[in-house]
Every structure is written in structure tokens, then in C-alpha cells.
Symmetry: C2
Subunit: 386 residues, 2 copies
């Protein structure tokens, strides 16, 4: 597969963004985070992991985005979709791009104007709070508006290229789980198993495995966001690996459960139940259904066996996936987001059993006209034994 | 090696933090980002990659930290160093922990008080901007103060355990580079080489390779923050891999250069020059020297051959490393940070040659009484040929 969005996709994205900006009465949109900057320009580098430098992209109502970035990013940004690139020598802690950003905003939209940026749920501003205060003081004519719903609406529906990337990540991670199955045996430590999973996934063709959590516990596991420990897995354990692997910058996010030795009846039954709940979720996916509908359908199946309690306090039965490991929407009973063709979701039903043990199961799908299309290969209906 | 900081280290950290808070006149410190929360409590999970939920930790002037977190983190946080854990069911976009955080702040420090949080260079607030505005409105008695210099001072000097983790990451990545050397041959694509490097590093024992950038170019490379492409490397290329690998949550960050086939004189000479500049930097490291001193010493060597121009516009000749890929301080001519025993640095001299080609070289060190101790194995003085 060729890498990165082509120019056409970026032009389409910016055009769509501008239509939403216009509808909201915005004159300019300010992007400061990795997915926002990448969405508009195609700019991609792991360098975001360094907190030293902020990066800014401004989208006016017409034309391509304007980049205001540290000089280290110039060469990389020149390959992206921009109308202009302005840069400053960085690090420069006394003025880390703030006056250059203010000057660029003044140039693009002079006088009183409305600038949108993400201020709502699941967002943050990736620049120092003190610098944002300075920016506001430098631009007294600007009215700052929350543009969260623009980003949400844009990014929830994926292009066929984005879907193909997530499918690639999902399929190759399924290959890796198959290879891992042959390697697993009692006595290996969680750390050894997780390291092997990372290697198998890379060998199967994913670009990276940024997210890998889980662990094993006697008769079931307790939480699902922990790192592996040096504890060896033993007979009677349930092992879970929850994997966010990437291909070309897009994440799959799903888990697989294994019983070490023959599972007891409670484990088998809990697994069967989350598997059935997931089947019910798959059946319920269609354009026009809401996230709350999916939640109701899956929780009805789960409630049969103590699934009324929220496994691992996850707080939802799934979520969007894409450039980030988790994205809008959330599959909760209060999320009224209506499913649209092209949305990509992780369905993630879980339940609590045997007191405080959790069982969580997850697959990735894309919403199609006719319903759910799996991007991962469906886990077996009976818990695999190692 | 055992994993995570022990209770003693966390108690020491919090005590030190409280002394600095007292000196600055703060009543409470608010942590919202991964390294801040981890520094105070030992809490570690890759779940921070999900942007859905904010996490808060409050440190008063006495005692252990108080966690205010989404319920999904309870079990994991119970294993950490806290005086109390309060949680809310999340996702809850209409009130994502904000009123619980306000109530907890009111409980810990009632009435007029000073709450510190990071607002300065290299920081950001990891919660929605709108929620922070709500929080401020809920707490009219609070004066919010910038606590950046507290975090900087605390985190710049590492414990022996932290240094051991960075050394482990560095040594194992050196092992991986040796293994990679045997694999490299003309005709492999950058993507294949980078994938193999990730696998070799995992096999050598690092936990993960979150940062891996670089690439190859005829007679030298152009920038150093890019992802690998599908272009095959060929005779005459210079290949660079810049690796941030982790062990127990701590990063090494260094690069290695390779010539594909016999390098021309310009490449050999550029490599020799950055290697010499790094040697000069190693010599200059001692407690009491400043970052500006290190910068001067290395740039003097570089200036001999066009090194006056900033290779790749990196803007500095090194930086701190630790829980994050890059940390304070910066090795620039304006950073007057004085080196202290226990600081861990990446020395990273670079130059521009043959017009627009960059050559960047990097090693990791810890500042000791007697000078620099290498945490990576010194690269050969002549560019390796593949």
C-alpha cells in the first residue's frame, strides 16, 4: 500500500472543514495537536513525542492550510499540503513561536474575527498555557470559539484509504495473535509474552505497536489498562492482551483472551457471554442506529450474567478508532451519535464475574450500508486454551 | 531489574516537591500529564494514549498525593503511592471529573490559596481548555501559579534507579545496532530496515521503541525527523537511524550513521567532525559547567567545517532525556542551566555539508563527579560501511 493521504484527500478534507467553519461563523481554525495537524496537512512525524516545541496550523475559509512551525520541521512540512510555511528557530523558550503565530493570524484575518480551536471533551491545547495567554493578549480583536464539534464531525467518518489502513493494522495483528498462540505456554512471564507479541506484530507487517496492555490472573484478570509484570502465567490463569497497532498512522484496537490450561465453568461462560454480546453488537450496526442503540443491545446480552456491573470500569462498550487509539464516539447509553457509513468502531463488551474478575472482548468494524464489516478476524466462540 | 520506583523513591520525590512548593508559596500542586502523575505516584499505563479521559493528581504541602481519576484507573492506581483515590464514572463528557476535582481542591486547601500547575516552556495542560475554564469558575478563591520551574528542577536530576533504566535502554539499543549492522545491505527499503531495528531492539531487551526516525539519502540525508519510506537504500547513501527506546518507562535517545558502500571524502569528513565535536562535549561535561559551555565547546569544533549552519535546524546540540524522549535542559548558547551530578543528557552535535546534507551524531551520558559517564557505547570514529 502506498503511504500517506494524497493531495486529493487533503484538499477534500480542508474543503469539508471550511464548509463547517463557515456554518459555525468561524474565520480561521487553529490546530495544535498531532491528529489535527495531520488531518489538514498530512504532516506526520514521531517527533511530537518531544514536548519542547509547539506546532501550529491555521486554516482560513479558502485555500490550503498555513503552517507556523519550528524550523526543524520545515523539510518534512514542505512535502505536505500547505499554502505557506513560516518557521522560527527553536528551542526559543522566551518566544516559542507565539509572536510569529500572532502575526500570521493578523495577516490571514485582520481586525475582529472568530478563531476556532478545540476546547471540548477529549481535546487539549498542545502549547504552554502561559503562551496561550500571551497569544490572547497579542490578539485583542480575536474571539476564541470552541471548534470541537467540527473536528469530531470531520474525523468520525473515514475515507476508504483510512479504512484500508485500519484493516491492515487489524489483519496483521490477527496474524500476530495466531503466531503468538503457537508460542504461548505456561511458565512464560507476562513481560516475555508481551515482548513476543510486539515482535510477532512487527514481523506480520504492522508499523508499530504503541499500545499493548493486559496481563493474566487466576480465574480472570482484574483491570485492563496495566502493563505486563514479571509474574509467570500458570495453569488456571486467564490471559488478555489488548493491542493498539498501527499501519501508516492508523490504529486497530482489539483484544484476545486465552485460558492457561482448561478453564473453569465461570471463565468459559463469561467468555461465551461477551462473545455473544459482541455478536449482538455486530448485528445491530447499521447506518441510522445510534451509539446508545448499540449499547442497549450489547448490555441486554451482558445483563444475563452480572454484566450489569461495568467490567474494569471501562465506562463504555466501545468507541471510535483512527489516527488515535480511541476517538469519538463512545458506545454509552447517553451517546446519541448516529452511525454513518464509514465510521470505524471498536465494539468492546465486558462483564464482571466470580466476584471481581473482568472479561472484556473487542473487535473492530466499519459501518457499511448493509451493516458492520469486520476489520479484525472474529475471535473463536470458545476461549482458546494454551 | 525490578520494575517501577519503590515507595522510598516516591516519598523522597514528594518531599522534595513539597519543599520547592513551600519555597514558592504554593499550597497545592496540580499534575495533569503522564510524566507529572508518574513522578509523584509511580502510576504508569500506556492508556494515556486514549484522549478520552483526563487524570488529575494533587499534592498538598504534607503527605502523599491525592488522585482524582476516571474509575477505569482505580485498580492500577491502588498499587501506587497515594493518600486517597477519588474516581468518577467515565466517559462523562458533561462533567469529566471537573466538579470532583474542584471539590477535592476545596477539601485539601479551603478558601484563598495558591495552586501551582505547569504553564511554561515545554509543558501543556492535559485537560480540555473548556473544563479548565469551568474549574477556575468553580474555584474563585484560587490563585493559579506557574509551577514549571518546580517540575524542571525536580526532574532534571535522576536517581540511580532512573539512570540504570536509561543505561539499560541505551545498552540494549547498542546491542540492537550491532545486530542490525549484520543485516544491513544495499537494496533493503528504509521501511524494512526500520522494522528490523524495532525487532532487534525488542529482542535485545528494550520494552518498546516509541521513537524511530531517520532515513537515507545520496551523499547524506536532508532532515532527521522523518519516517522511513519505501525507497531502497543504495550505494552512495548515508543512512541514519535515531532511536528512542524505553526500559521501564525511561528513554535512551541516540542515533547511528552508516555509509552504504565506500563513502566519499565529504561524508567521511563530516562524520569525523561530528564525532570529534561529541568527544569535545564529553570532555567538557562536569558539575558546574553550563549548557552554554557545552554548546560553545562543541560548536567550536563544528565551525571548522561549515558547522556554523544548524544541521536539520535542530536548534540545539543536545537536551535532557528521561521519562520523556526530550526533557530540560537544552544545549544552546543561551541556556545557562548548570550541570549537576545525576543529570542525564543526549549530546547531539550536527553539521551541514555538501550544500544541504546533514550529519547528526548523538550519545547519552550521565553527569558524574568526575565528568561524563557514557550510557551508550561510543560510536566508532570512522563511519561504518555496509
Amino acid at each position: 500500500m502506498s503511504r500517506g493521504p494524497g493531495r486529493d484527500e487533503l484538499v477534500t478534507r480542508c474543503g469539508r472543514t471550511q464548509a463547517l467553519m463557515e456554518a459555525m461563523g468561524l474565520d480561521l481554525l487553529l490546530a495544535t495537536t498531532e491528529p489535527e495537524v495531520r488531518y489538514l496537512t498530512g504532516f506526520r512525524t514521531p517527533f511530537w513525542q518531544s514536548p519542547t516545541r509547539p506546532w501550529f496550523v491555521l486554516l482560513p475559509l479558502r485555500g490550503a492550510p498555513h503552517a507556523v512551525i519550528p524550523a526543524i520541521g520545515e523539510v518534512c512540512m514542505e512535502r505536505c499540503y500547505t499554502a505557506s510555511i513560516r518557521s522560527w528557530p527553536s528551542p526559543a523558550p522566551e518566544d516559542e513561536g507565539v509572536t510569529l503565530l500572532a502575526a500570521t493570524i493578523n495577516e490571514l484575518v485582520s481586525g475582529r474575527c472568530r478563531v476556532g480551536l478545540a476546547m471540548g471533551p477529549e481535546t487539549h491545547l498542545r502549547m504552554p498555557l502561559g503562551d496561550f495567554a500571551t497569544l490572547k493578549a497579542l490578539l485583542p480583536g480575536v474571539i476564541w470559539r470552541d471548534a470541537t464539534r467540527i473536528w469530531r464531525q470531520l474525523r468520525m467518518v473515514k475515507s476508504e484509504r483510512e479504512i484500508a489502513c485500519i484493516r491492515e493494522a487489524g489483519q496483521r495483528t490477527c496474524d500476530a495473535f495466531e503466531a503468538l498462540g503457537a508460542y504461548l505456554e505456561p511458565g512464560l512471564s507476562e513481560i516475555e509474552i508481551f515482548r513476543r507479541m510486539r515482535i510477532e506484530a512487527l514481523q506480520a507487517g504492522v508499523d508499530d505497536v504503541p499500545y499493548l496492555v493486559g496481563g493474566a490472573g487466576r480465574g480472570g484478570y482484574g483491570d485492563i489498562i496495566s502493563l505486563p509484570t514479571s509474574r509467570p502465567v500458570g495453569t488456571g490463569d486467564v490471559l488478555v492482551l489488548d493491542v493498539g497497532a498501527t499501519f501508516d498512522g492508523y490504529h486497530c484496537d482489539f483484544d484476545r483472551n486465552f485460558a492457561v490450561g482448561q478453564p473453569d465453568a465461570a471463565v468459559s461462560e463469561a467468555y461465551r457471554q461477551v462473545h455473544e454480546a459482541l455478536d449482538a453488537g455486530l448485528e445491530a450496526v447499521r447506518p441510522g442506529a445510534s451509539c446508545a442503540d448499540l449499547h442497549r443491545v450489547m448490555s441486554t446480552v451482558l445483563r444475563g450474567r452480572g454484566g450489569g456491573r461495568d467490567a474494569g470500569n471501562v465506562g463504555r462498550l466501545g468507541h471510535g478508532i483512527g489516527m488515535q487509539l480511541t476517538e469519538w464516539p463512545s458506545i454509552t447509553d447517553t451517546d446519541d451519535t448516529v452511525l454513518e457509513v464509514g465510521m470505524v468502531l471498536a465494539l468492546e463488551p465486558g462483564l464482571v464475574f466470580s466476584g471481581d474478575r473482568a472479561m472484556v472482548h473487542e473487535e473492530n468494524i466499519v459501518v457499511r450500508d448493509q451493516g458492520a464489516e469486520l476489520l479484525t478476524r472474529r475471535a473463536p466462540p470458545v476461549i482458546p486454551v494454551i
